[in-house]
Amino acid sequence: MTHLLAYRPLIDPLDLHEVWFLLLIPLALFVSIAYKAVRVDDMKTFWPAALWMAAQIVVGMIALGTAFFVVIEWLVPIIAPTPM
């Protein structure tokens, strides 16, 4: 808590080293807002399209992360076991 009190915006970086992965959510949301503002034909469908795209990005990143975890932690040791 004390390190947050000493935070000076733009001068100090945020101390989010432990929860850096949560920063993916605002990233996905802002990307979707800007991209769908250019892409959608009818602005009435803007918010559903932007939220759907943000959800797709987040789910896609989680799926990619899980897939890489499975490959690196389980498959690679089976395919190429470390010699003892």
Binding site: P9, L10, I11, D12, P13, L14, D15, L16, H17, W20, L23, P26, L27, F30, V31, S32, I33, A34, Y35, K36, A37, V38, D41, D42, M43, F46
Partner: protein
């Protein structure tokens, strides 16, 4: 029904909107009177850019960084517009602290960034720095997309809105509709 179909170009060309889009995110669409689009483009791109600066500090925008990744990232960040150059200028002139190094035989080596105690700002490191750079780089890339959309606006999309679809109900269709009902 024979329609008088004139071949029209897929896109228009609006250099003024293009220049405005590069000078401020959303300004190009604002000049084209697409107010909602302009607001959401500005929120998305400036939100990402400011978010990146808040997460990683000013050190995420550094044209003269000793780290090649940060230096190369400035190419993408520059597409956000003059804001990126202003950020870099403030960073270089107000906050970046370098120290001179003496080299062998009385010569000098290129200056390096001052260690934490002597620096006017705390440099971001690790994942926080990477994410800050990522936010600002994506902001630049998205503004490039917005710039292209402002420069070459989609004519077909706008015409679709204006032209209401005309129902071409012929005699056969009328008979079929009657039969169905």
């Amino acid at each position: 029904m024979v329609q008088n179909e004139k071949p029209h170009p897929e896109t228009g060309f609006d250099p003024i909107a293009g220049v405005l889009a590069l000078s401020l995110p959303g300004a190009g669409h604002l000049a084209q009177r697409k107010y909602k689009r302009a607001i959401f483009i500005a929120i998305g791109i400036l939100g990402l850019y400011l978010g990146g600066l808040l997460i990683g500090g000013l050190s995420v925008v550094d044209r003269k960084s000793p780290r090649s990744e940060t230096r190369i990232s400035f190419i993408a960040q520059a597409f956000v517009g003059p804001i990126a150059f202003l950020t870099d200028y403030v960073h270089q002139t107000q906050f970046k602290t370098t120290v001179q190094r003496s080299g062998p035989r009385g010569g000098t080596l290129p200056p390096v960034i001052a260690p934490p105690g002597q620096n006017r700002m705390n440099l971001s490191l690790g994942k926080v720095n990477e994410i800050g750079v990522l936010y600002t780089v994506i902001a630049g890339m998205l503004n490039f997309i917005a710039f292209l959309d402002a420069l070459l606006p989609s004519v077909r999309r706008e015409q679709k809105k204006e032209e209401e679809p005309i129902r071409t109900t012929g005699a056969l269709d009328a008979v079929l509709e009657k039969g169905a009902s």
